[in-house]
């Protein structure tokens, strides 16, 4: 930052400024923020670095001739922060939209307050001793503020409304735009004629509140989307590549080419699809298959991007990278499935479809009616416009968003995040719940089956060996030992043979082994493989068995769902025996094993369509694996645990925290109540209209009545919605 431009020019003929945005994981505090920025600034060639704690991102500007993204990432890696570049195309579309709305919120807010200030003065002087010239001046002042505001701040509604009209549809933005434009236009006309029906205040205040709602909605989405992008970037992140001369180089995963040779260290995720060139080890493929048991891979075996290398460094020859990987393919499958969901019409838009023609019809009827009774066309038009304004969809436009914000905040307090704005509407309509097994119905992590016969001594020794390995069973063993014995001292001289086990020589020439049955010299025959053996020299080998434990309240949740009349089913990619056992334990009668992602979609679509036999089912899918992501997107509504693969969380409408399944019941419950409440709100809005529209049609509406009616109905709707957030049952 201190380098003078001339100095720079001497060193490098052409300085090529470039910017880079990195997702930085694990940046949680002010101290991290500073160390991340400092580390980046210390890289020579970096001009500035600014970290954002809210977005967990770091923006760097640098001279592309002197450094590159890999140097910055390496510098962060040295101080212990995993970072990955975010593709420029994906960086901030959402941010820009958010700012676009916020600018309009600010302008509308300013205008609404100032116009209200003037309007209150005019209302107070109504019928009193206020100088007519002054009233006129005040109205012109309001017009001066309101006109530019409506043109500028109304854009989001006008654009969306016009787009809907072009597509020969009606959405909520059509009546909103119409009401705002008409209210403003007529107020201007009435101001010119020096009449009383001036509604600039109502038009601009409505605009302000609607914009606030839009902004909140958008910021919820931007935040969720940003987090998903960070995680997706970090998933593949950075890879170590061997150059032809044998030197190692770190490159971003999206820059890999088929034919590159990767070195994947133990504990790293594989950055591209490929075949194992050298090495043998175990990998965790649960991201792709949903299967938690680790798979053994040898030279020549196919491996996929996103899978986790568990045991020993592997050298992999890339066959497909970036958008050609299976991971990316599943992502595309998911987006395709999501398109189907986009056909869902939001409640407010469906209401608008009934409401808008009714309003416009009433307005036309008023105009024609007054003309027929011999009124001048100006009078007829004035009354017709009054009808349109009184029916201005204030309350209607607020009816759904107010409820959704209240419901989302209630769920948020209980650890459930609402990700899709219309998710609450859809979850209220479901009649079937489908679970995935691994990670959803179960915890997705192997746990040691506690056995009375296991002595503390044996468990402790086995765990101290196992502490040297990253293998899931080894970790489970250590976790179980820590729970029983307090702490485990890791053994120091352990040798790991990938795919087999661990061994350590003891002082007196004896040897300890932990690992597979054959590793410990046991003939285990037809075991299912969810076991680890331990043998101390020539003593009797001991067997540790593992199982993927069910979430503690799974049977209870299934019972609660059945009691409420939902059908419950289990779809899993796992083996038949395991699925059957879990289904039985959880009390689920309908289950299917060995299902691939495409099978799950087919099953769901089959249920959801049911050609020719009445309406299809509406399914809530609960799943966690990458393999579930397409099914989550295809289902009518979807929910994921927070431990789920990032892409699944992105596909899901809801994400819940914790190890319990109860949030699923809670989400359905709140969704249904929100649905009821939205209808109550529509009722309130309709009631107001029923009372006031006849008055307006008969020409009795004064500005004061209009203002009171509009604001009370809006307030009532908002208050009704806030009952949901308050927590108590209505």
């Amino acid at each position: 930052m201190t380098a003078h431009p001339t100095e720079l020019a001497k060193q490098v003929p052409v300085a090529t400024p470039a910017t880079l945005v990195l997702a930085v994981d694990e940046m949680h505090c002010g101290a991290c923020l500073r160390s991340v920025e400092r580390a980046a600034l210390r890289v020579s060639g970096v001009d500035s670095a600014r970290a954002s704690l809210a977005a967990r991102r770091l923006s760097v500007t640098y001279d592309a001739n002197r450094t590159g993204e890999v140097d910055v990432i390496a510098a962060l890696d040295r101080i212990g922060f995993a970072a990955a570049p975010i593709e420029t195309a994906k960086q901030d579309r959402g941010d820009a939209r958010q700012k676009y709305l916020l600018r309009r919120v600010a302008v509308a807010g300013f205008a609404a307050m100032n116009i209200m200030l003037i309007s209150i003065a005019v209302w107070s002087g109504e019928g009193g001793d206020m100088d007519p010239a002054l009233v006129s001046l005040f109205r012109w002042l309001s017009a001066l503020i309101a006109l530019p505001t409506v043109v500028y701040a109304g854009q989001p509604f006008f654009i969306s409304g016009l787009a809907a009209l072009k597509g020969r549809r009606l959405n909520m933005d059509v009546p909103i735009s119409l009401a705002i434009v008409l209210a403003t236009g007529m107020s201007l006309y009435q101001t010119m004629l020096n009449n009383e029906q001036v509604y600039f205040d109502a038009a601009v205040t409505l605009l302000f509140f609607l914009l606030v709602g839009r902004y909140l909605d958008e910021s919820l989405r931007v935040r969720a989307r940003g987090e998903a992008q960070n995680l997706l970037s970090l998933q593949s992140g950075i890879a170590t590549v061997f150059d032809k001369d044998g030197t190692q180089r770190r490159v971003a995963a999206h820059a890999l080419q088929p034919g590159d040779r990767l070195l994947v260290a133990a504990g790293e995720r594989i950055a591209a699809d490929g075949v194992v060139h050298t090495g043998k080890g175990q990998i965790d493929q649960s991201l792709i298959t949903g299967e938690t048991a680790p798979a053994t891979v040898r030279t020549g075996d196919q491996v996929y991007a996103g899978t986790l290398n568990l045991t020993r460094a592997l050298e992999i020859e890339v066959t497909a990278a970036d958008s050609a990987t299976l991971l990316a393919e599943i992502g595309r499958l998911m987006i395709a499935a999501e398109q189907g969901k986009a056909r869902y019409r939001r409640l407010a838009d469906r209401a608008a479809q009934i409401y808008a023609p009714a309003v416009h019809g009433l307005g036309a009827a008023t105009f024609i009616g007054w003309l027929a009774f011999g009124a001048s066309w100006q009078t007829a038009l004035t009354y017709a416009i009054a009808v349109l304004i009184i029916t201005c969809p204030c309350a209607l436009a607020l009816a759904v968003p107010a409820v959704q914000i209240a419901a989302a905040s209630r769920l948020f307090k209980r650890g459930i995040m609402v990700k899709a704005p219309d998710g609450l509407e859809r979850i209220a309509e479901i009649d079937m719940v489908v679970f995935d097994k691994t990670g959803t119905l179960t915890l997705g992590k192997p746990q040691l089956i506690e056995d009375e016969e296991l002595s503390d001594d044996v468990l402790g020794s086995a765990a101290s060996l196992a502490a040297a390995s990253r293998h899931p069973y080894a970790r489970a063993l250590v976790a179980a030992a820590e729970q029983r014995l307090g702490s485990v001292a890791p053994a120091t001289e352990v040798v790991e043979t990938p795919g087999e086990g661990l061994a350590q020589s003891l002082r007196d020439g004896m040897e300890e082994r932990v690992g597979s049955a054959s590793w410990c010299g046991v003939d285990s025959g037809d075991s299912e493989g969810a076991e680890v053996w331990y043998r101390r020299d020539s003593e009797m080998p001991v067997c540790f068995r593992f199982a993927d434990a069910m979430r503690p309240d799974a049977p209870e949740t299934v019972r609660a769902l059945k009691r409420q009349g939902f059908d419950v089913a289990l779809l899993s990619g796992d083996r038949r025996g395991v699925v059957e056992r879990i289904a039985e334990a959880a009390g689920i009668d309908t289950w299917h094993a060995d299902m691939k992602p495409a099978d799950k979609i087919a099953w769901l679509e089959n249920r959801q369509r049911q050609e020719g036999k009445g309406p299809g089912r509406k399914v809530l899918m609960a799943g966690d694996g990458l393999n579930d992501a397409p099914a989550l997107a295809a289902a009518y509504a979807s929910i994921s645990p927070a431990s789920a693969a990032d892409i699944s969380q992105r596909a899901a409408d809801f994400v819940f925290q914790g190890i319990k399944l109860a949030p699923i019941v809670e989400a359905i419950d709140v969704g249904r109540r929100a649905h009821r409440m939205a209808f109550q709100n529509f009722g309130v809005a309709a009631l107001y209209n029923a009372i006031c529209v006849p008055l307006a049609m008969l020409g009795f509406v004064t500005p004061l009545i209009a203002a009171i009616v509009m604001s009370t109905s809006s307030i009532l709707v908002t208050l009704n919605a806030s009952r949901l957030a308050a927590g108590g049952r209505p």
């Binding site: 930052m1 201190t2 380098a3 505090c29 002010g30 101290a31 923020l33 500073r34 920025e37 400092r38 600034l41 210390r42 020579s44 970290a51 954002s52 704690l53 809210a54 977005a55 700012k99 916020l102 600018r103 600010a106 302008v107 300013f110 307050m113 100032n114 200030l117 003037i118 100088d131 002054l134 002042l141 503020i145």
Partner: protein, 54 residues
């Protein structure tokens, strides 16, 4: 009544000043990182321009 002739413009001007200040803050990125800024305020060391010799 003449008071209004200057009171209203003054009120509008002050409001507009607030609006402009907000829009400037938005544009210059004051709201980019609401969480981080809270921590930066607790930072003891002076900003980098002065300490970092690079």
């Amino acid at each position: 009544m003449t008071a209004l002739a200057w009171l209203i413009p003054v009120a509008l001007f002050l409001g507009a000043l607030g609006l402009v200040a907000f829009l400037w803050a938005l544009r210059s990125g004051q709201f980019e990182d609401m969480e981080g800024a809270a921590y930066r305020a607790l930072e003891d060391e002076p900003p980098d321009e002065e300490v970092d010799p690079r």
